[in-house]
Subunit: 344 residues, 2 copies
């Protein structure tokens, strides 16, 4: 399987490290991944016979600019060149997310699928904006689009709804989909501190970003909920269809009272289907100790589906960080190589 | 997809009802299931162009002996005849489980795979005894063997370990895999009754069998744990390799003290891999409120995997009964029709 990695940030680096370290596993799997392109912002690396990943990673320890890689680094290696060459089977699209335009990922994914190249992506933007269109392009061209990493990284939320509930109708989707807010609430519970104090701790630990708005105002949760809803319920909703509330106003008093009642607050994204009507919300919910999300603490994530014939399904997990994220990209790649048609 | 149903008990009946009721879903899925054979103990029904399931089910309301079905019922319809005809793509093997010999399921599965026919089964016996051998026959003949229903029915335990953790190494398997014992413990907790009282209630409700030994002595849990271990860790262990303890000795006093400590008892099956060494146990474990199984009450089931690169994954669900069981057979069938290669 000949692969092009487009976008070489944290997840891209982790992915290269992962497939290099997983050689034995992949060999047993019968899957030989040959990386022909690694493309960053200002060029990249290209080798028709596969880049020597071990050597490339050693180079990367000393130099961040991959176009300086002496063997095959070049400023002229680009996505367009790759499309012209058409010498890969899968594009791994890992450029930064843009939720307004989806670019540059949108173009990368569309063009690749149109050229009959499979795509696995961690980029939420294009999937959020145009999943159905992209899926149709994939179907038309007989290729696959793997998006498992866009809705909680290692948490198999798309897999859970698609593969684990194959044959069932999903009636509702519920999720604790954002590790940062879950961590903040947990800190407030454990240490009786204010929201701002907990946020600062999360920022200090690198769990929350310097600008935490997307997480704490609920938009990251909303984005993931939207993707899950559109993909698993075959909808074409947008963010405006979701009523979104964040966690910024919660007080230590409220947390204390909630715990005293034996309950816990979680930021829950929820889609309910009722007589064909879809209702989507993101808000703080008080969960009692019988709710399966009660045990979802710290940076953990979870999703719960209610289905018609396969009952309720709760999935808890989703380790955070670039390694699990890159492993969820590899998961899609392996499932595609095992023949699974995500796009039919 | 031309199908033969071998074994027509509760799950078989539910399966026929399910695919008849799910016509629209299956049509959208692009999967046309045509049932050519329904074979019971003393013969069956055969129609080369597909049995009219609606009509057949209506007949079934009045008459249990399917060979009396006026259209195509016949005492001479048999598995061997079907193998001679070779006019199906998938065999759904649903005969009763025999954990000593695996028969008659073992022969059905082997012969079908050898003849290039895919198999989906709910029959634990053959899988428990000979998964690796059967898988190899499937690989050799380029067909699939779906076994999702053998380890917790609707609970996607095999799927979880295979598809949701594709690319990861599984380091441990832990499960609350038996709904009956979980229900009994739960009854003792809620109503302060003895083990025998709780068992009687479970029997009255049809949750426990008249002879509950397999469940309450831990052997059902052990069987499922063994299948998960052999399939997901590529082992060839047998039941003798598991240290098995049941729940029959637990007292209301112990339950009360456990609850007072804020903990809960669960019958947990566990496989730990350590430096290549496998250790398997089934026993009552005290779980505190941070354990993801803490919320797994009543007839619910759960499985938890610890992996190297995709973190911890807990799956809770597994509605009980013949409908979810038959839906888990359909799930395997759909995933195979979507191209997934369980056997590679």
């Amino acid at each position: 399987m000949r692969v092009a990695i487009i976008g070489y940030g944290g997840v891209g680096r982790a992915f290269v490290q992962l497939i290099n370290g997983k050689k034995d596993y992949l060999y047993k799997e019968g899957l030989q991944i040959q990386v022909n392109y690694i493309i960053g912002r200002n060029g990249g690396v290209y080798n028709l016979e596969g880049i020597d990943l071990q050597d490339f990673m050693e180079f990367g320890l000393k130099q961040r600019n991959i176009t300086k890689y002496p063997k095959w680094g070049n400023e002229e290696v680009s996505f367009e060149k790759m499309i012209l060459n058409r010498d890969v089977d899968v594009v791994i699209e890992l450029t930064p997310t843009n939720k307004e335009t989806g670019e540059p990922g949108m173009t990368h994914i569309k063009r690749s699928l149109e050229c009959g190249i499979n795509v696995v992506t961690a980029n939420k933007g294009p999937i959020l904006l145009s999943y159905k269109e992209l899926k149709n392009i994939a179907v038309k061209n007989g290729v696959q689009l793997g998006i498992g990493c866009t809705t909680g990284g290692a948490l198999p939320s798309i897999n859970g709804g698609m593969m684990d509930l194959a044959g069932a109708n999903i009636l509702s989707i519920e999720g604790v989909l954002n590790g940062t807010t879950n961590f903040i609430i947990n800190e407030m519970e454990n240490n009786k501190i204010t929201y701002l104090e907990a946020l600062k701790k999360a920022q200090k630990l690198g769990i929350a970003e310097t600008n935490p708005t997307l997480d704490v105002e609920g938009w990251d949760t909303a984005t993931k909920l939207l993707i899950l809803t559109n993909v698993l319920m075959n909808e074409e909703k947008s963010l405006e269809d979701i009523s979104v509330e964040g966690i910024t106003k919660i007080t230590p008093e409220e947390i204390k009272n909630c715990l005293a009642e034996g309950n816990k607050y979680k930021l829950v994204g929820k889609t309910l289907k009722n007589n064909g009507e879809i209702r989507m919300t993101v808000k703080l919910e008080k969960l009692d100790s019988t709710h399966p999300f009660y045990v979802v603490d710290g940076k953990n994530k979870a999703v719960r589906y209610v289905s018609d014939v396969l009952g309720d399904l709760t999935i808890i997990g989703g380790a955070s960080g670039v390694i699990p994220a890159s492993a969820s990209v590899l998961r899609d790649l392996i499932n595609i190589s095992r023949g699974y048609r995500f796009c039919r």
